[in-house]
């Protein structure tokens, strides 16, 4: 495997970034175990003692609304012999009990029950065997994130200039509040997780790949619009508010797409979560967003459009999934080493303090890969300092 830093050029990304199992293992350590990862929306755990199971990188976690309204996230793994505790996607419980030997925990992680405790002798202390919490959990505009690193940038520092997009996304609701419909659309593809991040902010492909799904009216956004793509603090944005604000009906018109590195995509009516499984396998979980304070028929329309266009059977999304799998196949060839991200390099400008390109450019991708490179090389830099 080549040196990590050399895999990212200004205008191109090396194929190893998508195909090398060693790179994937490092990504789990250096990206998913160090930065803020999206876990859940607060509306999925509205009531006291509600929980949702999900993954933070390789870690199975359960996100819990505690009795006092606060939110915690625990590693979903019994401290005794290791089985996962919660099996349901969502539920409501004050306790989690492992069925194997009946170790029992409060939903804040505290170990409260161990059968036949005398067998552990006098040195055993229950308080040392609680469920392991995700070191940091923070919420912005209802979006819950977890971070495996106890110190480092705060969530708000991590979000940086994307906060105003999350603000604007919620402001589409007349009350400023959003929630999600029950359930998720769940998909899987045989391809690298980063194809989905690129694709979530990639106006260039819409007119080509999605020509069978986009209406002629919506196609004008891409052919005549004067929107921008932006690299915002390592995250990606496509901003087509020139065509109108984020629409209440969730249609393809104005607004923006936001990709929060490394695993969250917010666009139209959806919150899409990316779960890397292996270097060549990725799962996608999508929630549909309801707007508080609008006619419920409008919300239903948002959901029906989402179901028609996205998810495993979507008229847009099936073509995306097809391309992700074809890309993984194409990149098997070592005869071509580089993936090209050079569009718009010579016409970048600064908008609101961020590097921006024209609607079909790849500035946002370049920004995400610089972020990737920083995270992937930061740990080795720390090791190098420690070795001195």
């Amino acid at each position: 495997m080549r040196d990590i830093a050399s895999m990212i050029r200004t205008d191109a990304v090396h194929r190893d970034v998508y195909t090398a199992p060693e790179v994937f293992a490092l990504e789990m350590d250096r990206i998913f175990d160090t930065t803020w990862v999206y876990l859940a929306h607060t509306s999925e755990i509205k009531q006291a003692n509600d929980y949702k199971t999900t993954y933070l990188g390789r870690h199975p976690v359960v996100v819990v609304r505690l009795e006092d309204g606060s939110i915690t996230a625990l590693i979903n793994r019994c401290r005794h012999r290791g089985p996962t505790l919660c099996q349901q996607d969502t539920g409501n419980s004050r306790f989690f009990r492992c069925p194997y030997h009946a170790w029992t925990y409060e939903n804040n992680g505290k170990l409260i029950g161990v059968p036949l405790p005398q067998g552990y002798g006098k040195t055993f202390r229950r308080e040392e065997h609680g469920l392991v919490p995700v070191p940091r959990v923070a919420v912005y505009q209802g979006f819950i994130f977890g971070c495996m690193k106890p110190a480092g940038p705060t969530l708000e520092e991590h979000l940086g200039g994307t906060k105003r997009y999350l603000d604007a996304y919620c402001a589409v609701s007349p009350t400023g509040e959003i929630d999600v419909f029950r359930g998720m659309q769940k998909c899987v593809y045989n391809g690298n997780w980063k194809y989905q991040l690129e694709n979530g902010v990639d106006p260039y492909h819409v007119g080509a790949l999605h020509q069978s799904a986009v209406t002629p009216e919506a196609m004008k956004i891409y052919k005549q619009g004067r929107g921008n793509v932006l690299a915002v603090d390592g995250h990606g944005v496509t901003d087509h508010t020139d065509w109108g604000p984020m629409p209440v009906d969730g249609g393809l018109s104005g607004g923006f797409n936001l990709v929060l590195f490394p695993n969250l995509i917010v666009l139209r009516s959806q919150i899409r979560t990316v779960r890397p499984i292996a270097v060549d396998r990725t799962e996608i979980y999508t929630n549909v967003v309801r707007l508080a304070g609008v006619d419920e028929e409008v919300n239903i329309r948002r959901m029906r459009d989402q179901e028609f266009e996205f998810g495993a059977a979507g008229t847009f999304y099936t073509d995306d999934l097809e391309i992700f799998e074809r890309t993984q196949e194409g990149l098997k060839s070592s005869a071509v080493e580089w993936i090209v991200f050079a569009r718009g390099l010579e016409r970048e400008q600064i908008i609101n303090g961020y590097v921006a390109g024209a609607m079909s450019d790849e500035t946002q991708h370049r920004g995400m890969y610089q972020h990737w490179k920083e995270l992937m090389t930061a740990a080795s830099a720390e090791t190098a300092v420690a070795a001195e």
Binding site: F181, G183, M184, K186, E296, A312, A313, T318, E322
Partner: protein, 158 residues
């Protein structure tokens, strides 16, 4: 009039065969104008107004899906998957009468796409309505065995 099991079996077999053979236009003709085609997500008995589905199409949406598949630009189906739909366990359920029927079937759908074989097992529920001397579909609900699992791309009609 007796409800004829054989007639109903021939109806659901034909419905499956039209899809296997990609005869989408006569397949669409089996549906009433106000028909619903529904694939729940999560589990079989969700409320589609409060819970997201895999698909929830009215006939206009179904017609658009067919138009897309016919466009030559639906890359997820270029080339089209080869599909065998095996339909069995055909049961006429109450409430059924001369004018409307509730029909339950089991379907095993085997898809070959890009050298990979995908299998979907589903319990299908049809609401049929008499139209002259034929039957039309008011609702087709497809309860996938895997409706709470991650699904690979499913760009065809179930």
């Amino acid at each position: 009039m007796m409800i004829d099991q054989d007639t109903i079996e021939q109806f659901v077999y034909r419905e499956a065969r039209l899809l296997d053979k990609q005869m989408f236009e006569p397949w669409l003709d089996l549906f009433l104008e106000d028909a619903i085609y529904w694939v729940p997500a999560g589990h079989d008995d969700i409320d589609p107004r409060t819970h997201v589905s895999v698909m929830f199409d009215d006939k206009a949406a179904l017609t658009k899906r067919v138009g897309r598949l016919r466009s030559g630009f639906a890359y997820a189906q270029e080339p089209a998957s080869r599909i065998h739909r095996l339909v069995t366990n055909v049961v006429i359920d109450p409430p059924s009468d001369d004018e409307s029927l509730q029909v339950s079937t089991m379907m095993l759908l085997v898809e070959l796409s890009r050298h990979r074989q995908n299998i979907h097992s589903a319990h299908c529920e049809f609401s049929l309505v008499r139209s002259g001397d034929a039957w039309k579909i008011r609702r087709k609900k497809i309860n996938l065995l895997r409706n709470n699992e991650v699904l690979e791309s499913t760009p065809f009609l179930l």
